[in-house]
Subunit: 180 residues, 2 copies
């Protein structure tokens, strides 16, 4: 692995619900496909989907198997390339079995002032893991200590939250442009 | 309307299928929400969803009604703000009833060489309508004449196509940064 390599994780537990309580969300097939496709476009790998439940792992394996080994990949080889980067983990900590990742957490309202610009992430020694939360965001108190938080994407409208799919796309685009 | 205002359209007909034939796709609830949310974040309005079928219009109206007038908006007023910008049209041409839009078409492989950078779109007199296609892209021969094509987003991976949701997010982020 390139020492400045960037990987991505999408956490479904532990995340916060609307009330600020620790909770768990379901993995959606849309996120499997959109995360994998955006990461493939920017040559980012792996894409970790974090969920504690075996049933959710089985669902992801079934989706990926259809495209990697089944009829889907014969019809659309591009999607085989895309989905080959998906990994499922029970806990975010397990990603460290693959590489000594620095963990960069994301939030629309990060809890601290010293923020990392994604545009210059490639100038830091890595490998880096950019971590996104579902629900109402990462439950950082129950996750492993982060290396830092990325600066949030700022909008100009009244609405302060992007979908996690849009946030991923914008971060990777800025990251890539910072690197060019 | 501000003379440099930017609006967005997502076309479901006429678009191309894998074989390059004229075809029609279904409106998905995910695209309604993701397009509206990303546009709200960047203060872009309206968001036109173009589809010839009345049943698809009814579906979009039902989704929006739940959030604008029903129980959804009481629980989540932010989503009311988001979905208030959705409009459904039978034909892309009908957008001209709202404003004299310049039409900017998007494609991963645009048919011409003179391309508009989205970063400088705000320096051109508008109003502007950025037009995205579903399926295998816009069937430009059956759409009204465009003012121009936007320069495609370039990746660095083997995969050449982003989801339309990711492309929207990246274009609006670049547009906003070009404007700041």
């Amino acid at each position: 692995m390139n020492e400045n390599a960037i990987a991505v994780a999408l956490v479904h537990h532990p995340v916060l619900n609307r009330l600020g309580e620790t909770s768990t969300t379901a993995i959606t097939s849309m996120d499997v496909h959109d995360f994998a496709r955006t990461c493939a476009f920017y040559d980012v790998t792996p894409v970790y989907l974090v969920h504690p439940a075996e049933g959710m792992h089985a669902m992801v394996h079934d989706i990926c198997d259809y495209w990697l080994n089944g009829a889907g990949g014969k019809r659309n080889p591009g999607r085989r390339e895309v989905l080959s980067r998906i990994r499922v983990l029970h806990r975010l900590e397990d990603a460290q079995d693959d590489a000594s990742y620095k963990l960069w957490y994301t939030s629309a309202a990060p809890p601290q002032q010293a923020l990392q610009d994604v545009e210059t992430l490639h100038t830091e020694p890595g490998p880096h893991l950019i971590v996104f939360g579902t629900g109402s965001g990462l439950d950082a108190a129950k996750l492993p200590p982060e290396n830092g938080w990325l600066r949030p994407i700022e909008g100009i409208g009244k609405v302060r939250h992007l979908s996690v799919r849009a946030a991923l796309a914008i971060y990777l685009d800025r990251c890539r442009r910072g690197d060019s």
